[in-house]
């Protein structure tokens, strides 16, 4: 083991990110710690023509530079060490100290494949388990796609703790669509399943109608909802979803609307409900009523008995009426 030496910060090439896998590092704790007790662990550097390359300790060095330290305690490796070997050391070191967030895992995997040219099968079986990921192609593909998406998407994924399923879905949209999509999603309040639902609706409307996702988001109705300041993000989310559902399932929504209109025309008392079968698949209707007293029970029965004579009711339930509902 080499012993540490003092290296001037001016001699360190901060722009060389060969071994860096940082994404939006949280430096506040480190600042406090270094400000209080200084640097405990020396950083790891490699000699290169004209200076030094950082292998381990990017965050510590950024903080030291901020604090204006002139030099740092470092273990210096010779130029003969291979890049891959040093990258592996850097990964191991980070895993034992701080761990990686999902975007950093994506950067690690991307570097193994594209920078160090490691075979995908080796990355799957050797490095994915090292990062506590399941060793399969799907996971590899998910993280590679995350690494290749824009900074704004990565930030959104981290901030909202977006699941892998939704990362995969986001990666299927074009870069231009994502540019509009991310600010749009950020303005709503979306849990995991609601995000999945909206992404699926957008994807399906866009592919069915052969239009771009950004055109759907720019739809005046959607923009109208987003611009209403009195609405909370949750309310905006519900209204946006409703518009998407109308675009995605126009025939079903048309049937629902006509049914609602006809139901209202029947002026049912509040304790009587009339409903149709799920998605109008079965030719059957359901009437339910609530009562607390014998009198209420009698009144409900009397109303239902009169309902049988109502022309509007007959029209609603007549044999082919459900076929006409949406027309």
């Amino acid at each position: 083991m080499k012993s540490a030496q003092r290296i001037s910060l001016e001699e360190i090439d901060f722009s060389d990110e060969t071994f860096s896998v940082n994404f939006r590092p949280e430096l506040e704790r480190l600042r406090t710690s270094i400000g209080k007790i200084g640097l405990i662990q020396p950083v790891l550097l490699r000699r290169k023509p004209g200076g030094y390359q950082i292998v381990c300790g990017f965050r510590r060095l950024w903080v030291l530079r901020e604090f204006g330290w002139p030099d740092v305690s470092a273990i210096v490796l010779g130029e003969e060490k291979e890049d891959l070997q040093l990258f592996e050391i850097s990964i191991e070191e980070n895993l034992t100290t701080r761990g990686f967030n999902p975007v950093e895992k994506a950067i690690v995997i991307d570097k193994f494949i594209h920078q160090f040219k490691i075979e995908p099968s080796k990355v799957i079986h050797t490095y994915l388990p090292l990062l506590s990921l399941e060793p399969n192609e799907k996971i590899l593909g998910t993280y590679l796609s995350l690494a290749q998406m824009e900074e704004e998407v990565k930030e959104y994924v981290l901030k909202e703790e977006v699941s892998r399923t939704n990362v995969r879905k986001l990666s299927t949209f074009s870069k231009e669509d994502r540019k509009i999509l991310i600010p749009f999603l950020s303005s709503l309040k979306l849990g995991e399943s609601r995000l999945r639902e909206l992404l699926n609706l957008l994807d399906e409307i866009s592919r069915r109608d052969r239009i771009r996702v950004r055109e759907i988001i720019r739809h005046p109705e959607i923009q109208g909802i987003l611009s209403r300041r009195e609405l909370t993000p949750s309310q905006k989310t519900e209204r946006v979803k409703k518009v998407f559902l109308e675009l995605r399932y126009p025939r079903l929504i048309g049937l629902e609307r006509t049914f609602e209109k006809r139901r209202k025309e029947l002026n049912l008392p509040s304790n009587i409900t009339l409903s149709h079968s799920p998605h109008f698949e079965e030719k059957e209707w359901r009437i339910e009523f609530r009562f607390a007293t014998l009198e209420q029970y009698r009144r409900a029965l009397s109303f239902l008995s009169q309902l049988a004579e109502e022309k509007k009711f007959e029209e609603l339930i007549k044999e082919d009426s459900n076929g006409d509902l949406g027309k």
């Binding site: 069915r208 025939r251 049937l255 998605h279 109008f280 082919d320 459900n322 076929g323 509902l325």
Partner: protein, 370 residues
Amino acid sequence: MIPFQIERIYIDEKAEKDWLTQKILQGLSHLPVERVRGKKELIKKFLSSPDPLTVGKRHLLITHDYGRRLKPCPGTSNHLCCGYYIINPMTNCPMDCSYCILQEYLNNPFLTLYTNLDDLLQEIDLFLSNQEENFLRLGTGELSDSLALESIFPISQILIPFFAERGKGILELKTKSSNVDCLLHLNHRERTVVSWSLNPSRVIEEEERGTASLKERLEAARKCQERGYPLGFHFDPIIFDHGWEREYEETIRALFKTIDPKRVVWISLGGFRYPPKLKGIVEERFRDTRIFLGELFPGKDFKFRYLKEIRVEIYQKMLGWLQAVDPDLFVYLCMESQEVWERVFGWAPEDRRDLNRIFERRLKAFISKS
């Protein structure tokens, strides 16, 4: 010529000495062959590979099946079933249609050929001899394409004369291929219906990989027509998408430019439907598929179907275009409710038996006329 790629053959040692195995091997003598004892381990190994469904289509497994290979078509609850029987001399298919139910249904990814042929023929013989009806319909196109593998596994060339000799039961060969040349010289005695699944050319190109084009299918149908085979056509699954009306109407026009409607024994209509698990499988394999973009919802049997109103519209329009060609065409709905039948045809079979009787009458009339 084989229009698909087989990379390796696995032979279960039980099947090694069968004459049918030897015949398959003669036709594929350039391929590596591996002998296996039992197939369970092999299947397990393949199922753990990254894309077993695609890989399976490139590997042939020759083995025996000692279970029942002639079964009633499973149909689906709350829907009218037509009393069809399925025969399974093989499972899986070299074609790769995005909507194929086998992706979800089969737990063996190989193209699997069962060479214990005598067992199968005995089973069919026994079944037919126990039936009072002469026109029960049996088909090999449920767990595979009836003719896609015919060039290496000549099962239809065995079954056609078999049914002709019995004079009982009607064999249906359902296909998306054009492999009919080997059938043309056979004496079928009108006991075999050759039928094609049809879709517009765009749907074939986008969703039915490895199948014959519409033109090739119709040309193959024309050859069978010339040889006196009764013909069937299945517009199933119908995919409801922008411009579907124009595309399906054109397909019907193309069909009857080539085929005499009087030689068509039946035409079925069926909207696209799928069990819930299929969507995830298909979206992994065919990212650009458009089959799930319609208004599809789960029914009581948990299968997703187009909104009933859409299905009725599809069937009414299709029926109109077909009847404009020939009002006597025999058209039926596959796995639909009585209510949908009534709204499309103005009447509905009472039950499965009733529908089966309607088929029997149709077949009797068709065969006696010709």
